[in-house]
């Protein structure tokens, strides 16, 4: 009889396209955490997250901000002595948490990523002003004013697009997307 996969098996299977070794080969050396430029802002260090996954602490892993604070710099990946693609693992956790709709409250990352995907599916290209709606609401007054000031300066230098860009063969593009996700793409 088939058994339900454990959390660590689920996460390992999400790494199908990653190049590295399985996370269960981790020796907990901490090279990843020592290399990570964002580690001090994370709830749990990358090393700790790997230990938590291997211990099956699913809810605690999903409640952590760690993988949403990963900047995708791949420093951990190139340095891991066991050859684990740790940045790839952070991507897998992001996808898993979006799929399960289970992530720490107040994080901008998941909303931003989903808004980004919708923008691309709509026009084929990225458009900053739409993306801004996903994070500006989380800003306090001071941060909002600072961001508005930066945007205004960029606008004056002609560095912000006024109209959303759009690819030409958009209909083909959307049909292409629907062949990947039959009900998606709109």
């Amino acid at each position: 009889m088939a058994t339900k996969p454990s959390f660590s098996e689920e996460i390992a299977s999400l790494l199908h396209a990653a190049h590295g070794n399985p996370i269960k080969t981790c020796i907990q050396c901490g090279t990843c955490s020592g290399t990570c430029p964002v580690a001090r802002f994370m709830d749990d260090s990358p090393r700790r997250v790997i230990a938590m996954i291997n211990a099956g602490l699913k809810d605690r892993v999903l409640a952590s901000n760690t993988f949403w604070y990963c900047a995708s710099c791949y420093y951990c990946t190139v340095r891991c002595p066991r050859g684990i693609d740790i940045a790839g693992l952070m991507y897998a956790l992001k996808r898993y948490s979006i799929w399960k709709k289970q992530y720490k409250e107040g994080l901008v990352g998941p909303v931003f990523s989903e808004t980004f995907v919708k923008t691309i599916l709509k026009s084929g290209r990225s458009y900053e002003p739409v993306l801004a709606t996903s994070y500006l609401f989380t800003f306090g007054v001071q941060e909002f004013l600072q961001e508005a000031q930066t945007a205004t300066s960029l606008m004056l230098k002609g560095r912000l697009p006024v109209l959303p860009p759009r690819i030409k063969r958009l209909e083909n593009f959307r049909r292409m997307v629907r062949r990947i996700i039959p009900l998606g793409g709109d």
């Binding site: 964002v38 710099c73 420093y75 991507y91 996808r95 990225s126 930066t150 083909n172």
Partner: protein
């Protein structure tokens, strides 16, 4: 004349227009044609891969297949686009099931991925394909004495593509020396600018940007050189916010390597998009007026 399919990427349309302009101007001088890929789409950045890897690969594959149709190798000036396109190609070449699935979708746009076009970063075209000797031969106004921090950032190097040195690379320094500039010892040259965290986890990204700027200033650089639009925007456009956040008084121009190469080639600053920066690059121009 060597011709490449050119994938500018979303940033270069507006935010990093100066990178686009200076890339075209400098390559033209070097006898390289960057032929913009007709109807290219977004590479997926990092955010798309957070949601759906298969679709993200499909986005890259469409661009790759269009370059193949032209029979040209594909060049990306943005390190993020480069990394995505490079690894999408590698993954599809390695995994025939994945390629078959994606090719079924590409049929809708009359395209097919085979893997025949290679992916290059614009920097590779300069230092590898054209070569430093050729570049040196075109220098008419060497940037003598200009101290530059060579900022590699992440995705031009990482993840490791082949067997290149990801811990102590020198190609950026070598390019800067070729145009007469002085590459400084920049301890944080391989560290991350924060990438998209500037939008999603602002405080952590501002702190990362601050460290980089401080390191560049401490190393005696007059300017930071970059090969990625995201790095440029984070390091340049957020300097004011860094100063407000940390009470610092950092002010250092951040320029694309193509802008510095262009100045050394004697190309007028306005043709290189100089003037659209938020931290003025004017002080750098004096080095070409000697």
């Amino acid at each position: 004349m060597k011709t490449y399919a050119y994938f500018p990427g979303c940033s270069l349309e507006k935010m990093a227009l100066s990178y686009h302009l200076s890339a075209l101007e400098t390559t033209r001088k070097l006898g390289v044609e960057l032929k913009e890929l007709e109807d290219w789409n977004c590479c997926g950045a990092t955010a798309y891969f957070h949601v759906d890897e298969l679709l993200a690969h499909t986005l890259c594959a469409r661009n790759l297949a269009m370059a193949e149709k032209e029979n040209l190798d594909l060049v990306a000036p943005c390190s993020g686009c480069y990394k995505n396109l490079y690894f999408a190609r590698a993954d599809l070449k390695r995994d025939s099931d994945l390629a078959e699935h994606i090719n079924y979708a590409l049929e809708e746009d009359n395209l097919q991925f085979t893997g025949s076009s290679e992916v290059r970063h614009l920097m590779e075209v300069f230092v590898h394909d054209v070569g430093l000797e050729e570049i040196k031969a075109k220098v008419t106004r060497p940037l003598d004495g200009l101290r530059v921090a060579p900022y590699y950032g992440c995705q031009i190097l990482r993840p490791r593509k082949d067997h290149e040195d990801v811990e102590k690379p020198r190609f950026f320094e070598n390019l800067l020396s070729t145009i007469g500039a002085v590459p400084v010892q920049f301890p944080l040259k391989l560290w991350c600018c924060g990438g998209a965290l500037i939008l999603t986890s602002r405080k952590s990204a501002l702190s990362m940007v601050r460290n980089l700027l401080q390191s560049a200033v401490d190393s005696g650089a007059a300017v930071i050189a970059t090969a990625c639009p995201l790095c440029q925007v984070n390091l340049e456009c957020y300097q004011k916010q860094v100063n407000q956040e940390f009470g610092t008084e950092l002010s250092i121009p951040v320029m694309y390597f193509t802008q510095l190469v262009g100045l050394a080639f004697g190309i007028p600053p306005e043709s290189l998009g100089i003037g659209s920066e938020l931290v003025s690059a004017r002080p750098i121009l004096s080095y070409t007026e000697k």
